[in-house]
């Protein structure tokens, strides 16, 4: 193939013919802009330049080679070679399918994290800004057991969830319970939770460092194709676990005696106590469960997205959005709301740039609340 190199103004520099591999080289003695033209007549038969343009305008800098590329495609395939334009609609739907899946994937993790928040909010009225840190805690505990101790991630996760449950218990036993006893108001408690969040987050930073880490297993697992979707086995199993936990907890709250007692405590602790419910015990159960569930959410997040000391904090806004959207204080509300948040984040990227993906989800949150001020599953209170 013949290639003509000229300066920007058209002054000829050299003509070369490419070698068998299709490469060529032109020495030049001055940096600057050049024009490189490929003589299409010299192309092999049945071949064409991708995109059709046979001119390139590279800038050459002192001391460095500059490469130009004439990508060739079989003639006639030129149109099809640009699937981004021609085959647009099927690619669009494939992406939409993938994004829907990702929406559920993310939504379920949010839901799991939101469940813990919602439970604790429900029973104690505490808007826990440290909940993100509980999520991080679970992930880091599992890391601790998994990497330095070398235990496989599955038993490590089990241990971490149990530990986190224990820590949840301890947190209420030694901290929040005491505050309740002193009659700390819910606003004051909310600010305290900001303090707890700061404390825990920076403790993590000191102990764990600022870098991103990953578990020893299932890292960068290859995806498998399921129809239009590609997913990793770990995703699918995680989603199964998440859904199971969510449904079990949701039903337990509605059906079991302790679950009902938890809702009673949420409504009116003094009356619950008057009915013979040990309020502190119920709250401790909720903290234990909430801590454990948050930890599980953290581990799931860590499995799919690696670990960092701010991982929970970065999810917190989405968690709040999920809880609120569903209706504060209901378990299934947290599930529905979170999945909607997850779906909107992902699917909105079909139209908005991914850097603004949270904008779409948050805007939907605002819109929904405009029409249903009590959230999707929440109920209006009667007046009077």
């Amino acid at each position: 193939m013949k290639i003509v190199v000229t300066t920007e103004s058209g002054q000829p520099v050299q003509e070369v013919t490419s070698d068998a591999k299709g490469t060529w080289e032109v020495p030049i003695d001055q940096p600057g802009s050049y024009k490189v033209t490929l003589d299409t007549a010299t192309l092999p038969q049945n071949m064409a330049i991708r995109g059709g343009n046979n001119q390139r305008a590279p800038t050459v800098y002192e001391g460095n080679p500059t490469t130009v590329l004439f990508a060739l495609t079989a003639k006639g395939e030129d149109g099809a070679a640009a699937p981004d334009e021609g085959g647009g609609s099927s690619a669009f739907w494939q992406r939409a399918a993938q994004l829907t899946f990702e929406g559920f994937n993310l939504g379920l993790i949010i839901a799991l994290a939101a469940l813990g928040l919602s439970l604790i909010y429900g029973t104690t009225g505490l808007t826990n800004f440290a909940h993100g840190e509980l999520v991080t805690l679970g992930a880091l505990l599992a890391y601790l057991v998994n990497v330095p101790f070398g235990l496989h991630i599955i038993p490590a996760a089990v241990i971490a969830v149990i530990l986190a449950g224990g820590l949840g218990y301890a947190q209420d036993r030694f901290f929040w319970g005491g505050l309740r006893k002193r009659g700390t108001g819910i606003i004051a408690a909310m600010i305290v939770s900001i303090g707890v969040a700061l404390f825990m987050r920076y403790l993590f930073l000191i102990l764990f460092g600022g870098e991103t880490q990953s578990y020893a297993q299932y890292n960068a697992q290859a995806g498998i194709e399921i129809g239009p979707i590609s997913a990793t086995p770990k995703n699918l199993i995680s989603m199964g676990i998440e859904l199971t936990v969510l449904i079990i907890v949701g039903i337990a709250l509605l059906r079991t005696r302790t679950g009902k007692a938890a809702r009673a405590v949420a409504d009116n602790p003094a009356l619950a106590s008057s009915s013979g419910i040990n309020v502190d015990r119920i709250i401790r159960i909720i903290w234990t469960g909430g801590g454990a569930i948050a930890a599980l959410a953290g581990i799931m997040l860590g499995l799919s997205q690696n670990l960092k000391y701010t991982m929970g904090q970065e999810l917190l806004l989405l968690i709040f959005a999920g809880v609120t959207l569903g209706g504060l204080g209901t378990a299934f509300g947290a599930l529905v709301g979170s999945i909607i948040v997850g779906l909107f984040i992902q699917i909105s990227t079909l139209w908005v740039p991914p850097e603004l993906k949270n904008v779409g989800a948050l805007a939907v949150l605002i819109l929904v609340l405009l029409f249903r001020p009590q959230g999707i599953l929440g109920r209006r209170e009667r007046i009077g």
Binding site: Y61, N64, T212, G223, Q305, I345, P354
Partner: protein, 407 residues
């Protein structure tokens, strides 16, 4: 830990804080302040940067210090813009009569404090700012940086991509001045070279996950994927592999921010095989990294350690050359010691030359660092590295390219 604590008789002897004396006079002791992230979203960059400065100060003091006195250093936290404590840290440094401040990592943080620092006649020297604003900013000639030259790096990387025969390229860039600056340059070079940028995604590094971003790239099925970012790239790679864009089917390219020998080792063997990355600096980073590990054995990431190290050395040399530790005096000499003279590669050898009355040209670990009038590096060397089966890159680069940054 590490030996960093030993060499820190930090406060100047004559510390009586008299407000009347402008800091510009100098007090005979060169005091380096650092304003680097101990907290915030760039906290992972803090340890290597601090270690770089520590290493330099250690070497300088072992070589007899500057102007016959040990160099002092004061470390402060720049946080990130969300917490806004940088300005308090600067107050603190100025109160302690720092003559030059090394920092910040984030361009945004630097912007919030540059007026304050340069207003006090102190050198503001960033190892990591890449925003092009600083080229034109009103800095009274006191702002410098050794940060990776993204124009040259972008050109080298872009050319590499074209040379590898990739006709379609997708760019996944972290959304800040570093990422977008580099991405713009890569995109331009790639397009000039005849390949097509089929997708460009700017992502928020704080996002919980990157599934949608990768899905967008996947839809265009590019031959090459350029990953521009920091350590969150590990998450991006997870997602690439998951969505069926592995390195053996699509070529991945990385940049200095994420070409790492520690971040990806836990991934399955061969995940990064054949991936190429560019890192500024002529020498293999390996030796330097060993020295850093003596300073801080916990280091896992080495980003900007060379730049920080060079910054400290250059300031010390400039002070020595100016025979003064005053900020303005140092600033006046910084360009001179960085270029045009006898080449030398570390503080002891350079200072020898200076003492012998020679003109020097310091070539650092991060590259040849020659300052132009704006205080930006003018020349740089970029190494191109390739990952092996063990998800690590070898000490030896495939190729080094040196060039003028502006072209």
């Amino acid at each position: 830990g590490g030996g960093s604590d030993t060499a820190a008789p930090s406060s100047p002897a004559s510390a009586a804080p008299s407000s009347a004396a402008p800091a510009a006079q100098g007090d005979g002791t060169l005091t380096l302040g650092t304003l680097l992230p101990q907290t915030g979203s760039l906290a992972f960059l803090g340890p290597p940067e601090f270690a770089g400065v520590d290493l330099a100060v250690k070497e300088i003091n072992e070589a007899g210090g500057v102007l016959g006195k040990e160099v002092g250093k004061i470390h402060t936290d720049s946080g990130d813009t969300t917490t806004n404590i940088a300005s308090q840290s600067v107050d603190n440094l100025l109160a302690q009569k720092a003559d030059a401040i090394i920092g910040a990592a984030s361009s945004s943080v630097s912007e919030t404090v540059i007026d304050k620092i340069t207003g006090a006649g102190v050198v503001h020297f960033s190892p990591a700012n890449t925003s092009d604003k600083f080229t034109t900013i009103a800095d009274q000639g006191l702002y410098f940086r050794t940060s990776p030259p993204d124009k040259l790096q972008g050109r080298v990387l872009g050319d590499l991509i074209v040379a590898d025969g990739n006709a379609t390229v997708a760019i996944m860039a972290m959304q800040d001045s570093y990422g977008t600056g580099l991405a713009d340059q890569v995109a331009k070079t790639v397009q000039d070279g005849g390949a097509e940028v089929v997708e460009r995604v700017d992502y928020d590094p704080k996002a919980a996950e990157f599934a949608a971003d990768i899905a967008k790239i996947k839809a265009k099925n590019p031959a090459a994927v350029v990953l521009i970012g920091f350590e969150e790239t590990a998450k991006v790679i997870n997602e690439l592999v998951k969505q069926g864009l592995p390195a053996d089917k699509h070529k991945w390219y990385m940049v200095d921010g994420n070409t790492s020998n520690t971040n990806y080792v836990k991934m399955p063997k061969g995940t990064l095989k054949g991936v190429k990355g560019t890192i500024p600096g002529a020498a293999s980073p390996e030796d330097f990294q060993k020295k850093l590990l003596e300073i801080n054995p916990d280091l896992e990431d080495f980003s900007y350690a060379p730049e920080s190290y060079d910054a400290a050395n250059l300031i010390a040399l400039a002070a020595e050359a100016a025979k003064s530790d005053a900020g303005t005096a140092i600033a006046a000499k910084l360009a001179e010691v960085s270029k045009g003279g006898e080449k030398c590669k570390d503080f002891p050898s350079c200072v020898e030359l200076l003492k012998a009355g020679k003109d020097i040209d310091y070539d650092g670990v991060s590259g040849p660092v020659e300052f132009n009038d704006a205080g930006d590096p003018a020349v740089a060397t970029i190494g191109i590295y390739e990952y092996g089966d063990d998800n690590k890159y070898p000490t030896k680069a495939l190729e080094y390219r040196t060039g003028n940054i502006e072209g």
